[in-house]
């Protein structure tokens, strides 16, 4: 699918998990383009998954979740997971160096020459997307192929996906496509949900999903659990203030001037 890419427009991914076949072409294309050697392969004992999780070497991760269909037979939930490029990005909120920026394509990008490897973003990312590399001393995640976008090319994973489970484009267009797909599946008797299409999950996700089960089944926080780290700034500092007042009070009681015999 051809897309004209221009700065100033918000781009993203719409991942339709109902048509993901678990081929991992997205993982391969991502590693090829971004020159990621990947982690040494090992048996995870987790269905067909030998990637494990998103980290510094895996910016796409195809999940295989074995479950039971409505008819009682075996069923697979497959999903190509990726950085969500949140509108309200927790990683950006806590980054102390300003290394994490929003690009002209409204994507979230880690500047490798600015990051100093403090790993605060890892503790903040609610999706477990960001990974630390001991080789570079910095953190890494999907760039939404920032270099390809600047050259007018769509991201490698979306280009490689054979079923168009991963679709790339302007978010406005992707939202419309997702809405149509949702209605189509509902008319077939399914009960899918659009995750991150609206602003109830981190202000809306640049990479949003059509899911065939509840978000937690895919390792994604529910709408109620999708909370930002900065929510704890005010209560955290107030707790520290309370502790300070009480401790100073305790010190004043202990050190106060009083009449007592000094055995100095």
């Amino acid at each position: 699918m051809s897309v004209t890419i221009s700065a100033g427009t918000a781009y993203g991914f719409f991942t339709d998990t109902s048509i993901c076949i678990g081929c991992k072409a997205c993982e391969v294309a991502c590693k090829e383009w971004n020159q990621l050697p990947g982690n040494p392969p090992h048996f995870l004992g987790d269905s067909f998954d030998n990637t494990g999780q998103l980290d510094d070497m895996n910016w796409r991760h195809v999940q295989f979740r074995e479950t039971t269909s409505a008819q009682g037979g075996p069923a697979w939930l497959m999903m190509s997971d990726v950085c969500k490029h949140c509108n309200q990005a927790s990683c950006m909120d806590v980054c102390p160096t300003g290394a994490i920026i929003r690009t002209e394509f409204d994507t979230v990008f880690i500047q490798q020459d600015v990051c100093n490897g403090c790993r605060n973003c890892i503790s903040a990312c609610p999706f477990g997307v960001i990974g630390f590399s001991g080789d570079t001393g910095t953190v890494h995640k999907c760039t939404l192929c920032y270099d390809r976008l600047q050259a007018g090319m769509q991201p490698a994973c979306a280009q490689a996906c054979p079923t168009q489970s991963i679709q790339f484009g302007p978010l406005v267009e992707l939202h419309a496509r997702a809405d149509m797909r949702l209605v189509a599946l509902q008319s077939q008797g399914h009960d899918p949900i659009l995750y991150g299409r609206d602003d109830n999950v981190y202000g809306g996700l640049g990479a949003f999903f059509l899911l065939m089960d509840k978000p937690e089944s895919y390792g994604l926080p529910s709408t109620a659990s999708a909370v930002r780290p900065e929510r704890n700034n005010a209560p955290g500092y107030l707790g520290a203030l309370l502790g300070s007042v009480l401790a100073v009070l305790g010190g004043l009681i202990a050190f106060r001037r009083r009449n007592e015999t000094e055995a100095q």
């Binding site: 980290d55 927790s90 909120d93 980054c95 102390p96 160096t97 300003g98 290394a99 920026i101 500047q111 020459d113 990051c115 100093n116 403090c118 790993r119 890892i122 503790s123 903040a124 990312c125 609610p126 999706f127 960001i130 630390f132 001991g134 570079t136 001393g137 910095t138 937690e216 994604l220 926080p221 529910s222 109620a224 659990s225 909370v227 780290p229 900065e230 704890n232 700034n233 209560p235 955290g236 500092y237 107030l238 707790g239 520290a240 309370l242 502790g243 300070s244 009480l246 401790a247 100073v248 009070l249 305790g250 010190g251 004043l252 202990a254 050190f255 001037r257 000094e262 055995a263 100095q264």
Partner: protein
């Protein structure tokens, strides 16, 4: 509120644990020195006040070294302070990030505690230099007050830093700042008391033991609040399971001897030797269990 967590571990280990521990002692020691100066009897606890200031600066000097060693790219520590994004530049201060605010507070605290350290050292050696004259007057009291406020922040913000995340346990409670502050003050009180044993009188020792006891009361209050908030979030099991309960026993022992010291207004005999060890170990164990168990 009970939130499901899917965040992965930032792999903060021993450097961070040591930093959190020493930041509590450095900040706490300075605050104790300030309290002795501003609230204590005129000259009564002068020796302990000086020792508190002399402890704070060397300890805080170790902190940035630990923080730098923990970075993936230690040579870029200064990126915390200066914006290196191409085309931008200037100072880096991100108010919503406790790590950014904390680095600035630590830098300012190191500066103020250095001035206090130099003046105190000069005073001890009988000097009459500019630093001594500055610290002797009202200006000195202002410097000490500013240092005390920064010390309180440095000793407590590390807890807020953990809370401002999406990690289980850390983000489920608002109590970590107060907990780290009270426990840091407790450890600082026994450290200053140990240095003061030969230089200050029994009255000063008694008052420091009492202060440690009051700090332990505050710490105990925050431990209770910590478990109440984790209970509500459904993550209390994370800090108690897998043998972590053993570290809580160490925490409890440290609190117990501090509270006994408060009740008895000091410890005598063998307990006078054991108490500071148990208190410091308890404060270290508290940070260890909170930092390591969710990871």
């Amino acid at each position: 509120m009970d939130h499901e967590h899917f965040a992965v571990s930032p792999d903060w280990k021993w450097y961070i644990l040591l930093y959190f521990f020493l930041a509590g002692i450095a900040g706490g020691a300075y605050v104790i020195g300030a309290l002795l100066r501003l609230a204590g009897g005129a000259g009564r606890d002068r020796a302990a006040e000086r020792l508190a200031f002399l402890v704070a600066f060397p300890v805080v000097l170790i902190c940035p070294i630990l923080l730098t060693l923990d970075l993936g790219s230690p040579g870029r520590f200064w990126h915390m302070l200066i914006n290196t994004t191409p085309g931008q530049g200037g100072v880096n201060f991100v108010s919503r990030s406790p790590m950014s605010v904390g680095v600035w507070a630590l830098s300012l605290f190191a500066l103020v505690s250095f001035v206090t350290f130099v003046a105190t050292l000069s005073e001890v050696r009988g000097g009459r230099g500019a630093a001594v004259r500055l610290m002797a007057g009202a200006g000195g009291s202002l410097v000490v007050l500013a240092g005390a406020l920064l010390g309180l922040f440095v000793a407590s913000y590390t807890g807020v830093l953990l809370s401002v995340s999406n990690q289980a346990v850390w983000s489920d409670t608002w109590t970590l700042g107060g907990l780290f502050l009270a426990s840091g003050m407790s450890a600082a009180a026994v450290v200053v008391a140990q240095f003061a044993r030969r230089r200050a009188g029994a009255g000063t020792e008694r008052r420091l033991a009492e202060a440690d006891g009051w700090f332990a009361v505050v710490e105990l209050l925050f431990v209770v609040l910590f478990f109440i908030t984790l209970g509500a979030a459904g993550t209390a099991g994370t800090v108690l399971g897998h043998g972590w309960a053993l570290l809580w026993v160490v925490v409890g022992l440290g609190l117990l001897v501090s509270l006994l010291g408060l009740a008895r207004r000091g410890m005598a005999g063998a307990m006078a030797v054991v108490t500071p060890v148990l208190v410091v170990l308890g404060v270290f164990a508290l940070r260890a269990v909170i930092i390591f168990s969710p990871q």
